[in-house]
Amino acid sequence: MNAGTRILVAIAGAFSLWALVFTVIYAGHATGCETGWGLAPALGGIAPLRIVLVLIALAGLGLTLAGLWLLRRGAGLAPRLATTARLLTGAAAVATVYNFAFVAILPLCA
């Protein structure tokens, strides 16, 4: 990975992942509700659609935290960029929790 690409990934990667998770959850939720897929309670009385949505959110959070771990020593970036990247990745992790926690709680299609 060249230096320019590394900067791009470090700066924009975490929130790009947040955007991807946002899109997949929004689209998956809308599609599930319209097609009726996964709405009937299954495992432990939880609808499969909800399980899928929660797993997507958790996967996003896990990857973001992994990114934060990779950035702990700067990932070869200039110090100021490394700090900025860590701030952004941490913020994306918080945003992921704050934004997507609702998929575990709220009524799915009401």
């Binding site: 230096a3 320019g4 700066i11 959850i25 599609t31 097609t35 945003a95 704050y98 609702f102």
Partner: protein
């Protein structure tokens, strides 16, 4: 700042802060390198960079000229938009007013919003960015000066089209967000809506071209040594904004094209009776519209982050947190578009997703606000406190910004909460909120920026008390006008009504709003008169009058010469901690990089993205009428579409293509030049021989916009399949297999041929280029076959969407054809060699992107069908 040892002559190296000082200047690499007669150098550079007099002004491509044109034109449109606002306030001043009849009132408020958003706010910051960025970054111009000029002509002509239509009584009247079905043909039968759709799309060409231009300029046209972490913070802001424009504008452009196709040809994308959905328009519009708010705010915030440290006398507090905040804001702003659609009946979970993102975006905004407050709170005097104004006019406007924008932000958080929004939706509360955000977050900062950079732009010092009077009138008038709208809104006054009854109880509040709006207008008039007087009679500005610390103030004269810098410094520390007064004379002597005049070439340094190491000499194009002609031809396309003379539109489009084919730069690229001295002992290739020249970056950046448009189209189709009434259609359209397979194979063949042409001996690549051209033509043929096989497109949105996707593919295959033809032409004319391979690399890059995108498009019909069937009740 590291000071040179006593007795050591000042050089660029010795004047810059030292973190990782580069190698000491080597022997002069050319006769002109090192110490030069500054006057001779200035004369030589002016001769090749200056815009000619008289009619030659129409050939101007210089970023200072084009930037100022953008700003002045935007201010003219602002005046027009302001007059429209006055008409609105006169109408609403008293109950049951007969000042404007309802139809005319609808035109007036539609045009007010349209003018302010599309013709004022965006072009104003584009112009400011074009003017400032090369000077801040240490370049002599933007990466693509002709693209700037072309964008300006598109903006001017598109804006003029809208205004002329309004004067002719044919203005759009469906509101600035043109909701369907109100803007659809049955309910807006005239050409007003077409004027909006085509005029705004015409103007958006300038926005996309500016986004490409700004991105590439910031990425690679910087002073040597200016790595990304040393860039002035304004560059970070504009890089982020440009990226947002590349992703945010395509949904609007797509929506406009689809709605115009519905109005002109009956393709029912938004017609619920034929498989369309009016909500699709709302999604596409607000996918653009909400990021747009931040696209407008962030450049103004970038100006604040630049000028507040100047007046505080210390660097920006929390530089890293501010950069992180603005990037976070950019992403989050794309996750809130539905907060304009809370009342459309979405499930609670969807509402929660968007409500959470809407509240979340307040956090990075607050980070910036607190960073600015911290910067001001820790102000300390500079070495010469007498030379620093205590409370400049700029700072007054910064104060206005803080007061007004924070209030607008707080009401924004209120509106982000779903239950509150349900109550306040479409009331004057929303009108108040958006004006507090946009005027507070854009206009006041831009006025601050205007006063701050006025000496740079005009060469005149500003010290008029009238400016303070103007500020207070605007500030008081603004709050008097819009604060009361919070109250009328909460009392239930809907927006966009042309009249209200005396029993409503809104009378006095509206009257005070209207009177205050005239106070604000008088304030603006005072500011304009003051500025005009300053330009005419103001005393000459001294160099770096604010003791700023960024490179734009290191130009040799105020206003700057057309070439900006006679030479480029090596930046060895943060580029917002410089001492321009000391650097300027050194650069003016030609000491640094490219301090020469060579073959009449317009040279500037190109650098690697991350480290800012010089890696090429970018040769910029001379003044030319091509952008003007291209703009006129593009205007002919839009006018032909407006008046439905479609054959003429096709001819005009072909003329545009023919003109674009004349754009490639010639003189310096007709032979291999090898590495040339660039000063400071460095040898660099010309951009035409560089590994990654600016044009390659432009194509990569443009691919982002193309991808965003395709993604929006695919989203639109899938959205209709699961959400629109009337799905699945009675007969699901099936595309024939043969042309689909043929198109896929042809895409692969075009990619392979372009790849083979780029490998090995490019001089023998003509057959491969011919192959790529033929393969793209085959894709075009296959696309035509597939569209012809569809049921009538007017019958159902299913086939209309499929046709739109195929047209996207066909259009891109056509561009591939043009690029292959161009590469062949350039190869035959001797402009291509093993070192000069940009034309072939452009084709290779295009085909490499088109192959996966094309396969997605070809697979889209199957996905659409599967989803439509899955959504069967």
């Amino acid at each position: 700042m590291t000071k040179p040892p006593s007795g050591t002559p000042e050089t660029v190296e010795s004047l810059l802060p030292g973190e990782d000082r580069g190698p000491a200047p080597a022997q002069p690499a050319t006769p002109g390198d090192g110490v030069t007669d500054p006057l001779a150098l200035d004369a030589g550079l002016r001769k090749i960079w200056a815009t000619g007099p008289g009619w030659q002004r129409f050939a101007a491509v210089n970023h200072s000229v084009v930037g100022v044109r953008f700003m002045v034109t935007a201010l003219v449109f602002f005046t027009i938009g302001g007059i429209l606002a006055m008409l609105i306030r006169v109408q609403l001043a008293t109950p049951d007013s007969g000042f404007l009849e309802p139809g005319l009132y609808a035109q007036v408020f539609t045009m007010h919003g349209t003018v302010m958003m599309f013709l004022f706010a965006i072009p104003l910051f584009e112009g400011l960015a074009m003017y400032l960025l090369p000077k801040m970054l240490g370049a002599r111009d933007m990466a693509f000066p002709r693209l700037s000029a072309y964008g300006y002509w598109c903006y001017l002509f598109g804006g003029t089209l809208l205004i002329v239509a309004m004067l002719a009584g044919a203005a759009p009247d469906s509101g600035w967000f043109m909701y369907t079905p109100l803007s659809s043909q049955p309910f807006s039968p005239g050409i007003g809506a077409d004027v909006w759709l085509l005029g705004v799309t015409f103007v958006e060409i300038s926005a996309i071209s500016a986004a490409v231009e700004i991105t590439v300029t910031i990425l690679i046209l910087r002073a040597p040594g200016m790595s990304m972490d040393r860039m002035p913070v304004f560059a970070w802001y504009m890089l982020t904004v440009a990226a947002m424009m590349l992703v945010g504008f395509p949904p609007l452009i797509l929506g406009s094209i689809l709605l115009e196709a519905e109005r002109a040809f009956g393709l029912p994308f938004f017609d619920p009776l034929r498989g369309g959905d009016p909500l699709l328009w709302q999604h596409l519009f607000w996918l653009f519209g909400h990021p747009e708010v931040y696209i407008i705010f962030l450049p103004a915030a970038g100006a604040l982050s630049t000028l507040i440290p100047v007046f505080a006398g210390r660097p920006l507090a929390g530089y890293r947190a501010v950069v992180a905040a603005l990037v976070a804001m950019a992403f989050l702003s794309f996750g809130l578009w539905v907060h304009h659609m809370y009342t459309t009946g979405l499930p609670h979970l969807s509402l929660a997703l968007f409500s959470a993102a809407s509240t979340l975006v307040a956090v990075p905004t607050a980070v910036q606000i607190f960073a600015w407050i911290a910067t001001l709170a820790q102000r300390r005097p500079k070495p010469d406190p007498e030379a620093r104004p205590r409370t400049s006019v700029s700072m007054l406007h910064v104060f206005g910004f803080f007061f007004i924008f924070v209030m607008g932000g707080l009401t924004g958080v209120m509106l982000a909460i779903v239950p509150f929004d349900w109550q306040a939706h479409d009331t004057h509360f929303v009108v108040a909120h958006l004006h507090y955000v946009l005027i507070g977050g854009f206009l006041f900062p831009m006025l601050a920026a205007g006063y701050h950079w006025l000496p740079l732009i005009s060469g005149r010092a500003h010290d008029g008390p009238a400016a303070r009077l103007g500020f207070w009138l605007v500030f008081a008038g603004f709050n008097g006008t819009f604060f009361l709208m919070h109250i009328t809104g909460l009392m239930g006054m809907p927006r966009r009504v042309h009249a209200y009854g005396p029993e409503s109880g809104w009378h006095w509040l509206n009257l005070i709003s209207s009177i205050s709006s005239f106070v604000m207008a008088i304030g603006f008039a005072v500011i304009v008169i003051d500025l005009l007087m300053t330009l005419r009679f103001g005393r000459k500005a001294e160099p770096d009058p604010w003791q700023a610390a960024t490179l734009e103030w290191a130009v040799p004269t105020l206003p700057p010469p057309p070439y900006n810098f006679a030479a480029f410094p090596r930046i060895t520390g943060r580029a917002d901690k410089l001492e321009p007064r000391k650097i300027a004379p050194v650069l003016a002597r030609g000491e640094g990089y490219l301090g020469v005049v060579r073959h009449g070439w317009m040279e500037t340094t190109g650098v690697s993205i991350a480290r800012g190491e010089p890696d090429q000499i970018v040769i910029l194009p001379q003044q030319t009428y091509l952008p003007l002609w291209s703009g006129i031809a593009t205007g002919a396309v839009f006018l032909s579409l407006l008046f439905k003379v479609y054959p003429l539109a096709i001819v005009a489009a072909l003329v545009v293509v023919a003109l674009f084919l004349r754009w490639p730069v010639g003189d310096h690229a007709d032979a291999d030049r090898g590495d040339l001295p660039a000063g400071e002992g460095v040898m660099l290739p010309l951009s035409s021989e560089a590994a990654v020249p600016p044009a390659i970056w432009a194509l990569r950046v443009l691919a982002v916009a193309g991808g965003a448009l395709l993604a929006s189209l695919l989203f639109g189709g899938l959205f209709l399949a699961i959400s629109a009434p009337g799905w699945p259609p009675p007969v699901l359209p099936d595309l024939p297999l043969v042309p689909g397979v043929l198109a896929a194979l042809a895409l692969a063949a075009a990619w392979l041929a372009s790849r083979m042409a780029a490998r090995g001996d490019v001089l023998r690549g003509a057959p491969m280029l011919g192959g790529a051209l033929a393969a793209n033509a085959a894709v075009l043929g296959a696309v035509g076959w597939m569209i012809a096989a569809l049921p009538p497109l007017q019958d159902h949105a299913a086939q209309a969407v499929l046709a739109a996707a195929m047209i996207w593919l066909g259009l891109h295959a056509f561009i591939g054809t043009v690029l292959a033809f161009n590469a062949l032409r350039r190869l035959r004319s001797g402009h291509v060699s093993a070192r000069r391979r940009i034309d072939i690399d452009l084709l290779r890059l295009w085909q490499a992107g088109l192959l996966p995108a094309g396969l997605v498009v070809l697979g889209f019909p199957s996905a659409l069908k599967a989803l439509a069937l899955a959504a069967l009740p």
